[in-house]
Symmetry: C2
Subunit: 199 residues, 2 copies
Amino acid sequence: MPLYIKSVENLINEFRKLPGIGPKSARRIVFYLLNQPKKEIKQFSDALIEMKGKARFCKICFNLSEEEVCSICKDQSRERKKICVLESASDVAVIEATGEYRGLYHILGGLLSPIEDRGPNEIRIPDLVRRAKEGDIEEVIIALNPTVEGESTATFIKKVLKDTAIRVTRLASGLPVGGDLEYADELTLGRAISNRGEF
Amino acid sequence: MPLYIKSVENLINEFRKLPGIGPKSARRIVFYLLNQPKKEIKQFSDALIEMKGKARFCKICFNLSEEEVCSICKDQSRERKKICVLESASDVAVIEATGEYRGLYHILGGLLSPIEDRGPNEIRIPDLVRRAKEGDIEEVIIALNPTVEGESTATFIKKVLKDTAIRVTRLASGLPVGGDLEYADELTLGRAISNRGEF
């Protein structure tokens, strides 16, 4: 005998597939939904279907879009000679929220990983190189996570663009604003020292 | 301009309504779903609708059920003179998983709370009293959380059943198995001392 009735078990299992949701959270969510009006559940279910029906990826930069080309790629007021390279389309909002960047984007959709068998062709690096060379681009800003995979992907991109006039930069590493020297790890502190600047 | 396209924003908002899911988890889940095949999303969406269509509450004990009377209330092999009182239908699985209880259940659907204006009539205490008196019940086992609201609900139930021959018991309080004296709070330790027993 399953713990709950089948329809409830099924839904718990669907929630358990989601990232960051374990068996207890899934159960808690489903029992919450059991007490919601039918209308709310219908709305949730419709939002899932609609998202999957409408969301696609921009054919230029692979950002989320409802049309073939996303609103950022279409926006002629942006600085069209800069491309910011991101791992995932979800990172676009993070960069946009800073208000510090007004250029274009390129979403890799992953990082180089020998372990997971992901090479440059799996993560849209050829598209980036083509865009950079054909698009009269002046700067490629690499904004990948400062992890081993992020760093090696950054190094790879720098290498393939070496013979061009394009400036390849990456986000500064250093102390978080409001951070504390004592709590910084050695690597971050080391970077902060070697990247020190006049003020 | 919203951070993402509308259909994605909508779905993020739907996930944010769920208990324990904040803005970052919601975003992470939606971007995960964006990369899932359409079939998976359809299955998720269908599971939501089906759950809401099929799940209802047993008219006797208010446990989850797909029929008018739940499988536990129908099961003639269970000890039908014992009722275990629970706050929520989600607690049934927790008790069943122990394998220590083979009686019936009664789900209150909440606890007494003067602050939230929940009195005995709001939490199916009259149904419990009627069941206990009419059903030839010998024992009512109160398995509510050992919180202020849980304790006062337990005390209230004990009081309303005082004039009957029904034994009203509650779960033992004490040290968790594998727990450590040093980490037990004074209240729990005090209960463990006053409930001490031969072994």
